[in-house]
């Protein structure tokens, strides 16, 4: 109840405005630190409630991050009943995210699922009869949060997290075993402890890096184009690019065997990926490419599956379909421009029941508008989501990782200077921060680890 909290309150996607909402007793003062009003004489700390002020959000180097309207509401006349500041920034995920990062640097915490509503209720701003509704919001958002958080941890990230958890458990078990069972365990092995701390910090750095890349990648929707070789995938990609290529700053350090482009389709940021043809192959190099493709496809929000109107449905097509049938799918029957077409509506219904089909010609740019309409419909219709929740979970995880890293750095700095019980405070702190990501009861796990790594007890 006592921290200053922040969250993006608007869903991303099309829309001119994104709103970052802040609530708490210190929000006006903190907002003043990062907001530069258009008119210099204005001090938002003195502004009345219900006021709007034009200006910029500035970062630590006083660089403008975005031009915004700052709305101020003073307690108790606000949504939560506390002081509330709303930063109205440009729509789209990137500006909102950048503003939120600047906000967080001022000592805000990311709001828990349903927290604004919870505070509103606890401060008497919502009626007792609305309590159930509040609870529903909390429950739904929190369950969804957990699912999204787990999803975010999938893939390579989950390996890193596991490694990190294992190392930190080992480290904590070493320290606690030495403190609680000094006679069996003896002194802490400082060299090993130091090595673990250094290694853990490296893993955290890698996680944060990969998180940064993933952030950029997670802007908007990811669409994978797949289909057998020569069905026209690259052609389609190029056609879409000619129409909708996005201007983005370059993303450092990414190499993948997948061709990937950033587009804006009807205002929606899209990552379009052309995958290597999926087919059975015994060639090792090709196999790796195929595996990567499969990974990309599995993680895609939407799959565009191309089939060749001229060839008809082949067994290759069916093999590919088997891999993707559980995803959000649009089938594009390419080469609509051909005279001789060998796919009928009945074929579609027979092989791919219930799936949306669009006839296109990448070469002749036929059917592309219809494709774009369908994509837009899927996003706005809620079928595809890149959620505000997802971004915040991502930021929350990053926050926790940075805290863990700071604890480890502090511990390294103090390693030979403070006694073990003080060191233990930071070593435990690192594990606790990690625990916010994995959500585990770590105290018990440290004990378990202690008893399995060391032969203690008389």
């Amino acid at each position: 109840m006592f921290d200053d909290i922040a969250a993006i309150s608007t869903p991303p996607g099309e829309g001119g405005i994104a709103i970052i909402r802040l609530s708490g007793s210190g929000v006006i003062k903190k907002a003043a630190q990062i907001f530069k009003p258009r008119r210099n004489q204005i001090d938002i700390r003195k502004k009345e409630g219900y006021s709007l002020t034009l200006g910029w959000i500035v970062d630590a180097d006083s660089e403008a991050v975005d031009e915004v309207l700052l709305a101020l509401m003073r307690a108790p006349h606000s949504y939560t009943g506390e002081d509330v500041v709303e930063i109205h920034c440009h729509g789209g995920i990137l500006p909102a995210r950048r503003c939120l990062e600047v906000v967080l640097s001022q000592g805000f915490r990311i709001a828990e699922p349903g927290e604004f509503t919870r505070r509103a209720f606890l401060n008497g701003r919502l009626d007792a009869s609305q309590a159930e509704a509040v609870i529903e919001i909390i429950r739904a958002k929190s369950d969804k949060s957990m699912k999204l958080a787990l999803k975010q941890l999938g893939g390579r990230n989950s390996e890193y997290i596991h490694t990190l958890e294992d190392r930190l458990l080992e480290l904590n078990a070493m320290v606690e075993a030495s403190l609680d069972f000094p006679e069996e365990v003896g002194e802490l092995e400082y060299n090993r402890a130091q090595a673990i701390m250094v290694e853990s910090m490296e893993v955290i750095d890698r996680l944060i890096q990969s998180g940064k890349r993933a952030d950029v990648y997670r802007q908007g929707i990811s669409i994978a184009i797949c289909g057998k070789p020569n069905v026209g995938k690259s052609s389609l990609l190029n056609t879409l690019l000619r129409k909708d290529r996005a201007i983005v700053t370059s993303i450092p350090g990414t190499t993948r065997d997948i061709i990937e482009e950033q587009l804006i389709i009807k205002g929606i940021p899209v990552r379009l990926m052309d995958t290597a043809g999926i087919h059975i192959t015994s060639d090792v190099v090709e196999k790796i490419g195929v595996e990567k493709s499969q990974e990309v496809i599995a993680e895609a929000d939407l799959v565009l599956f191309l089939v060749d109107a001229g060839d008809g449905i082949t067994s290759d097509d069916l093999n590919i379909y088997r891999n993707i049938e559980n995803q959000n799918l649009i089938i594009l029957v390419n080469k609509e421009d051909l005279e001789d077409k060998n796919i009928t509506k009945r074929d579609m219904e027979q092989y791919f029941p219930g799936v949306k089909v669009i006839k296109v010609s990448a070469k002749e740019e036929l059917g592309i508008d219809k494709l774009e309409d369908n994509i837009e419909e899927m996003v706005l219709g809620g079928k595809l989501q890149s959620d505000d929740l997802e971004i915040m979970i991502n930021l929350r995880q990053r926050e926790a990782l940075l805290r863990a890293r700071q604890h480890l750095q502090d511990a390294l700095n103090e390693l030979n200077q403070v006694p073990l019980d003080c060191l233990g405070v930071d070593i435990w702190g690192a594990l606790e921060a990690l625990g916010e990501i994995t959500g585990k009861n770590l105290r018990e796990e440290v004990l378990d680890r202690m008893f399995s790594d060391f032969c203690i007890g008389k």
Partner: protein, 624 residues
């Protein structure tokens, strides 16, 4: 034939470490108290290692002392060796450990009990707890005596349906071949309480003169003047040594060859044993890659031939125990006085208790000690003290004493028991305390003596000594904070140079200067900046200044913690009424009935959404 044998305020069943603290506390707080014990000879018995203290446990003993309990005083009077554990690892984990003379410990405690006004002891077997309308009313013994009372504290240790197991031999018994308590468990079950089964064990005892000490490494005690109780002066004692030897590959082979006769592995023992006190055979099997384990030979008293073998806790058949011992360097010609054994016993899963240690099922019924599934004399004594205090407070119709996790290790202990999933005998470790740096062995009195005074357990003598110490401490801290020096000061620069410490950059007080690791309080005394005085004061000054930064960090964490602890949950809350709680949360909350939001969040398996929903529900109720 049941007859009325008298009326008391509080009855304590059991005279082990928990029972002694409970009975003394209750009597000293003004309640007429009866203590029922199966045997006078086993009052304050140490059935296992005759040692008290060590990490986490020393903190408990100090806290018991600060509140006005007895253990610390009794240890000081019967210790034959005292050492400090974890020196150099920081003040939060430093702990005194004492080896005691087993018989002296018992004698001294018995004497204290027998001379305590308002306390009577009777040797009998309590069989039944009588209740009226869910409230305790009397205790009935095997020989027909009915003692009426307002509160009962059960501290029956490992006696409830105790079963001794040595290899293939099994018989009903309490520790040390005493009678077990057979009927009391049944009475508890009839009252609606659930019981589980645990096991613990003890090693053989051997003749001192049959040991070849030349094959072992001597471990003498410290020469430092030490003591547990704040009321006793620090003294050096004649130190009695312990000896270190180890098991060998041959020893392990004997164990492995006979696993089919070892009750730990044949499934005969059903009760769960503690991880950190594994039997020797358990160790050999689980850590098979280790070709030797440490074994300590410890004297059980000043003047006795009996030696205790630490590390050889076992329930192997007797003939195998002999073989095992003889394979250990120094014990080739050993003569056994007592065989090692495992003991299985009934315990009461403590989720059934409130934080006051009163059972939720039966009003006025308290349980403390190993019956709650803990292990260790210190853990038992701490619980006994709390249960005795709260039984007395209940009789006096006052609010119970509940210590928070942020205030005492005793608080950590009780809270862990109430909220946790106790599926093996629980032992306190410093790592269980989130605020370890604040709950130190050295500041127990500063944390607890005032509380002890409020409830009437702290004597005038102790109270005066405490206040004097507090005043002197405040004064000396003031002195150190006021005296400051600048970089220009010659005396100071010379002083710093002599200790290899960097010169000052700004004005700094003596208090802040102490933060530097190379500077100690004795240096200040040498320079005449501080007077020589009581060890305790000097220790506090040094610790509080050097760890001020960390202490402040933890105090900030405590502030947030206590806010959640003070959000109380009404005891009559109906969890079935709460919309949106996960099924797991609903089940656990109904079972454990947490007393505050803070405690609710600690219940095993609860997630933050459940807590938030609970908060909303409580607020909604509040408004009605």
């Amino acid at each position: 034939m049941i007859y009325n044998a008298g009326s008391y305020d509080v009855i304590v069943i059991g005279a082990g470490h928990a029972g002694c603290e409970a009975a003394l506390a209750s009597a000293r707080m003004g309640c007429e108290t009866l203590m029922i014990t199966l045997s006078m000879e086993n009052v304050a018995l140490m059935p296992c290692n005759p040692s008290i203290g060590g990490p986490a446990k020393a903190q408990l003993v100090r806290e018991i002392d600060a509140l006005g309990g007895e253990m610390a005083i009794n240890v000081d009077q019967s210790a034959i060796q005292m050492r400090v554990i974890n020196t150099g690892k920081g003040p939060a984990v430093q702990a005194i450990r004492a080896q005691c003379d087993k018989h002296e410990y018992h004698n001294k405690m018995l004497k204290t009990l027998l001379n305590q006004p308002r306390l009577k002891i009777i040797m009998a077997e309590a069989e039944e707890i009588e209740t009226h309308g869910g409230v305790v009313s009397a205790v009935i013994t095997r020989t027909g005596a009915r003692f009426s009372c307002q509160a009962v504290v059960i501290t029956s240790g490992t006696y409830l349906k105790g079963r001794i197991i040595i290899g293939e031999v099994m018989y009903d018994g309490g520790p040390g071949n005493q009678f077990p308590a057979v009927k009391l468990s049944d009475s508890l079950r009839n009252l609606g309480l659930e019981l589980g089964r645990f096991k613990t064990g003890t090693p053989p005892r051997i003749y001192r003169r049959s040991v070849d000490f030349t094959k072992m490494i001597e471990q003498p005690g410290d020469d430092l003047p030490l003591r547990f109780s704040y009321m006793n002066p620090r003294v050096t004692r004649t130190q009695y040594s312990c000896w270190l030897t180890h098991s060998t590959a041959a020893t392990h082979k004997i164990v492995m060859d006979n696993l089919d006769r070892a009750p730990m592995f044949t499934g005969v023992i059903k009760g769960k044993g503690p991880r950190y006190c594994p039997s020797f055979e358990d160790k050999v099997v689980r850590f098979a890659h280790k070709d030797s384990h440490q074994i300590f030979i410890e004297p059980e008293g000043r003047d006795t031939e009996e030696m205790y073998i630490q590390g050889l806790n076992t329930s192997l058949p007797e003939d195998i125990q002999v073989q095992v011992l003889k394979s250990i360097p120094g014990l080739e010609n050993v003569a056994i006085i007592r065989t090692g054994y495992a003991i299985e016993y009934d315990y009461l899963p403590p989720a059934q208790l409130r934080s006051s240690l009163e059972t939720r099922q039966v009003e006025g019924l308290f349980t403390a000690g190993q019956i709650n599934g803990t292990s260790g004399y210190e853990e038992a004594a701490a619980q006994g003290l709390i249960a005795g205090i709260n039984a007395a407070l209940k009789v006096q119709e006052k609010e119970p004493l509940i210590l928070k996790r942020s205030k005492a290790f005793i608080g950590v202990l009780v809270d862990d028991l109430i909220t946790g999933d106790i599926d093996e005998p629980y032992r306190l470790l410093t790592s269980r305390a989130e605020y370890r740096l604040l709950l130190r062995q050295d500041n127990a009195d500063l944390r607890l003596t005032e509380k002890g005074r409020k409830i009437g357990l702290v004597s005038d003598e102790r109270w005066m000594a405490y206040n004097e110490k507090k005043n002197i401490l405040e004064h000396e801290i003031g002195v150190l904070k006021e005296q400051s020096y600048t970089p220009a000061d010659q005396e100071m620069s010379d002083f710093l140079k002599s200790l290899g410490s960097a010169n000052l950059k700004d004005r700094i007080s003596l208090w802040e200067l102490l933060r530097r690791p190379e500077i100690g309080i004795q240096d200040y005394i040498r320079m005449g900046w501080l007077n020589q005085q009581d060890e305790d004061i000097l220790e506090q000054l040094e610790i509080q200044s050097k760890y001020e930064g960390y202490i402040k960090k933890q105090e900030e964490q405590v502030r947030r913690f206590e806010k959640m602890e003070s959000k109380l949950i009404p005891p009559d809350i109906d969890y079935d009424e709460i919309f949106g709680l996960s099924n797991e949360a609903r089940y656990k909350f109904k079972q454990i009935r947490p007393e505050s939001i803070g405690q609710a969040s600690r219940v095993f398996g609860i997630n933050p959404a459940d807590i938030n929903i609970l908060l909303i529900f409580l607020e909604k109720k509040r408004r009605k």
